[in-house]
Subunit: 203 residues, 2 copies
């Protein structure tokens, strides 16, 4: 018998929902649900409403596929972004990582995944037709491929580079190498190979 079996049913149902979240086990789920018992009613009601309305409130940007409040995401809607740059990412949740670097002022394009032929994910399952349409406007000067630096991400980047070679748009790939601040004693062989292969003249 687990400890939470002694809880009232309403609490057990709430614990069951928390347990569905990634990284939340039985013990954490109980702790979170019990903590909520001490919340004031209006906070609980607000939390519940945000959850229930989440999918209705969070939309996908019509242009880039990013998470959005309305038709356009805040990046596509901003007048301060460089519209000649488009950075291709696999999923929308990678965009905040780029934004946090504060080094990129262009736009994004969310593929919605990467090519996984063995699992039946082909080019037609990704937002590639939408990307061709964006490149067709002539506004884009550079397409930055920012898929993950692993086997599937590299394969997807190669596919995109070949697919859009005919557009005349400059196609680049983000650098792979040793992460900033890392202790080289623990760097893996594949990363070191990329870091050596991508070396530049010291200036």
């Amino acid at each position: 018998m687990s400890a939470s079996d002694a809880y009232p049913e309403a609490l057990q149902r709430l614990v069951a929902y928390f347990k569905r979240l990634p990284g939340v086990g039985a013990r954490t789920a109980s702790r979170l649900a019990l903590a909520l018992l001490d919340w004031p009613d209006e906070l609980l009601a607000g939390f519940g409403q945000e959850l229930a309305a989440l999918k209705a409130n969070v939309r996908r940007c019509r242009v880039c596929g990013n998470l959005a409040d309305g038709e356009l995401c805040r990046i596509c809607a901003s007048p301060n972004r460089d519209r000649s740059l488009v950075c291709v990412v696999e999923v929308a949740t990678q965009i905040p990582v780029f934004e946090a670097s504060a080094c990129y002022r262009g736009l994004y394009h969310v593929l919605g995944g990467r090519l996984l032929p063995l699992e039946g994910v082909g080019p037609e399952n990704l937002r590639i037709a939408e990307l061709r349409e964006r490149l067709g406007t002539g506004e884009v000067g550079e397409l930055i491929l920012a898929t993950s630096p692993d086997v599937e991400g590299e394969a997807t980047a190669h596919f995109l580079a070949a697919e859009f070679a005919d557009t005349g748009v400059r196609i680049t790939r983000i650098a792979a190498g040793v992460p900033v601040g890392a202790d080289l004693s623990y760097a893996d062989a594949a990363t070191m190979a990329r870091a050596l292969g991508g070396r530049r003249t010291f200036d």
Copy 2:
């Protein structure tokens, strides 16, 4: 700029609610909120409803103060419990710990805290009058004091033992000592003092 600033507002509001939970920082809150975006609508709605209705659905047992679905908690309502035993705990969330041991078949009494004179928590702030009433029925033969084995818990246990000395009910205290499975190399001095003081004849 933190990564979650790039999220739609509805997602940021949800992240803010998660951040109010104990042990949930900005990064975990974002991870949990993003995971919910992939949930089917009906699950999200169910989760939201459980949250909003939590306080209405989880009540306090009229007899012992435990968390309950209705008037009585499932322990007080059970016909299989020994009604001559009452175990006094500080808060309702400690009851599942006793239940998980599967060694106790009596009832409980939730004090609702412990004596903290410096913070203004006196006997009148705890469910002590309710406990006297239960002992007055003559049904209870033993009162087990299971407050925490720290300074305030010991003081509360001593207060209760003195308070109910006149009832003729047998009053006991749970054993303190070295936890089962622990490596004695790391036991603290106070625990070792209790373990030695509470030693019993080996039989």
